[in-house]
Every structure is written in C-alpha cells, then in structure tokens.
Chain length 229, copies 2
C-alpha cells in the first residue's frame, strides 16, 4: 500500500531513535514536527502506556499540547498516574481513524488514519507550573472554559496531579487515498472497491438539568460544532 | 463524579486481579462480560501496548471479537507484531468518547466515555486457526467483505500474522450523564454547564477511481451508515 504524509514536509525533523524509526513501510512515516503537532491538536484523548510489574497498561487520558510539551492530569490518588509520573518510560499514542478502505481482495482492505506515538518520561509538576499545565490542558480540551468556568481552588489543585511529557522522541504515521488492489483483481472486476469515510462531529449542546432556564449556550461551546473540532 | 455502568449487570463477572480491579472510583467499574463485549463490538480500532526493552510501546490496531477471543493481525515482517506475539504480556484498550462535560468549575469538567482494557498474552495462530481469525477480524471490521471480496491466497496468508488474545482478564469503565458541580457553584449560577455530545458516523461511500462506472455500492457497505456502526 502506498501512503503519503498528512502534511507537506516542513519544520524540524524529530529525533529518530531505533524505537521511533518505523521499521515497516518507512514511506508511511512522516516524521515531521508539524505533522506531529497536527495529529495531536486534532484530538484531545490519547492512550497512555506504562509498565507495571513488567506488564504494559494502556489507559485513555485527556491531554493538552503547547509547543513541545504535552500535559496530562489525573487524581493524585490514582495508582496509574503515580506509576506514570515517576520518571519511568511512558508512551502516549493519539489516533484518528478517517476511513475504512474496501478493496477487491480481503488482503488489501485497510484504513485511512493519522497517528502519533510519543515516547518519553513524564515529570510531575508543582505550583505555578502545574497550574499552567492545567490551563493548557483545559484550553486544548475545552477551549474557552478556563476563562468561563470557576478556576481551581488550592484544594482542587492539591488533588490534581499534572504531568509534563516532552515531545522529544515521536513518530507520525498516516494513510490516505483509496484502495490499492492487485492488477489481476482490478481486471477481474469481481468486487466493489472504495473508501467509506468515518466522520466525527459535535452534536447539539445539552444544558444541564439544574441550569436556570433561559441561559444561552456560550459561544465557546457553540463555536466547536465545526467538523473535526 | 458519579457514574453508572453502560449496561445493567448481567452475564458472568470477569476475573478480577489487582491489575484489572480499578483502584480509583470503583463505582465507575462495570466489570461485566456483557459490558466488555458491548464496548469491544462498538469499535474496531484498539490501542495495543507491549514492552520493548523495558519501555512501553502503544500502537493502534484493528481487531475482531468472537466469544472470548480477540483477533489481531499484521505483517509477518512487523517488528512490533513479533514483539507482541511471543507470549509476552500485552494490553489492548478500546475507548469510545461520547461527550465532553462542561461544568461550572474547571475542576469538574470531564468526558463521557466507554472503555475496555484487556490484559493477557497473545498467541500466534497458524493454518486453519489463523484463517478463522482473519475471517472474524474481517467480519468485525468490514462486515460482508469476507464473502464479497477475494479471499486471501496461501501467499497472502503466509504474509499475515494472526494473533489471538483471550478475554480472560479485563475491565470496563464508563461515564454517562451530565456535570456534577459543587452545590456552591450551582447556587452561584456564574457559568454554563452541560453536555456536548461527540458523534461518529460513516460518510457517503466513495467508489475507487479505477472501478468501472455503473457498479452499485453493495449493501454490506451502504448498510453501515446507521449511527455508531
């Protein structure tokens, strides 16, 4: 299958290591920082992997990006967050599934996607750094909410662990385009082939039942209903 | 935050272990086999974690479920698939993000989601078992394609590694409902609160450019355009 990067080459290359250098189908790798930013900024939920007693654990987590920093958060009482915040290696992967590829052969069925894999060690932040990380995370996940909603109290801040994962070692992969069937299968013309797009969109906001009637939905919520964000 | 399981309790409980017993917010855990099936069956892309040189690696992967077996596949030349198929511990996590929760406080912002975390060791299949696994995977990812498209040749089968991950140790978590603000924030009435649903749907099928004109899109493709599948 041929693939193309999701963005034209630009920006600085990411630091390649044996782990982040894709061994299979290197033409699918778009190890570009701008492409990495684009994949991370298009989502807000990643899958964080860490090792517990020699075995991998993968959990979904909200994240926010600013520059070459990714911020994660969780309860200070969370065992998984503790396991991921002690300077041990972690892996954060963000994936967008864009389409299913129907080919004339079962073998060439595929999917169009964009994914980013970030390797590194997460550092627990405190004080102003932690508050800044929370703000970046909130601005990423729910733009406008930091200014609209009540900010965290010292007690709430103390209950929230904030981690910083640097974007130092990462890889980006994507697949775009249609099916790539064998010539014989195209000539045989025995099956349909094409792309079935998978789309994600925000639905209509549902005000909380305990909200006084008549309060309009604020712009930072209604503005999100453009496709993809 | 209060949560509720995505399905009423039913079916056999999954085998709990310290790793799969959720330490935080146990009320959010719905460790039920039926709930596990429901989360796995609602998607087709998971995040597979495995350990390479002591560090976690998390990669997106297609999967198919049948009974208490999850099937994975990949190129036999893939280093990551080899790393995950040698009986070593792996973790497969499937997550559906259903909504973003806007609360009156930044602290109580949250998301509605369903996720399944499967721990185990994957076994590489050969021969008829591998072919069966491929069929299950295809029926799960692209229902109807196994019968419509050309089936794998022996050469294609030889190039495809098929893994079986048993559903023996797993946990399911979900959050549903609206925001859960502090009473003081509800009384203060200083911010909007509510649910912003995130919806996924199939778009219109795009026939391959090299397909002869006039061939209709087959029913197994057009039938998918109901929400959520």
């Amino acid at each position: 299958m041929t693939t193309s990067p999701i963005l034209p080459p630009s920006g600085l290359p990411l630091s390649p290591t044996p782990r982040s250098t894709l061994r299979r189908m290197p033409e699918r790798a778009a190890a570009e920082r701008e492409a990495l930013y684009a994949v991370l900024d298009a989502g807000f939920v990643g899958h964080l992997g860490f090792v517990v007693d020699g075995a991998p654990v993968v959990l979904p987590t909200l994240y926010g990006r600013e520059g070459d920093a990714v911020y994660l958060h969780g309860s200070t009482g969370s065992a998984s967050l503790r396991a991921a915040s002690e300077g041990v290696p972690v892996c954060l992967t963000v994936t967008h599934v864009d389409a299913l590829i129907y080919a004339r052969s079962a073998f060439h069925h595929s999917m169009n996607y964009r994914s980013a894999v970030v390797h590194g060690a997460a550092r627990r932040l405190v004080g102003e750094e932690a508050l800044h990380g929370l703000r970046v995370l909130m601005d990423h996940v729910a733009p406008g909410s930091w200014d609209h909603a009540r900010r965290p109290t010292p007690k709430e801040q103390a209950a929230t662990a904030v981690l910083l994962l640097p974007l130092a070692e990462a890889s980006v992969k994507s697949r775009t385009g249609g099916p790539h069937d064998d010539d014989e299968d195209v000539l045989a013309d025995a099956a349909w082939a094409g792309v079935l797009p998978l789309e994600q969109r925000w639905g209509a906001p549902l005000p909380s039942a305990d909200l006084p009637g008549g309060r309009p939905v604020p712009g930072h919520v209604t503005d999100r209903r453009a496709p993809g964000r």
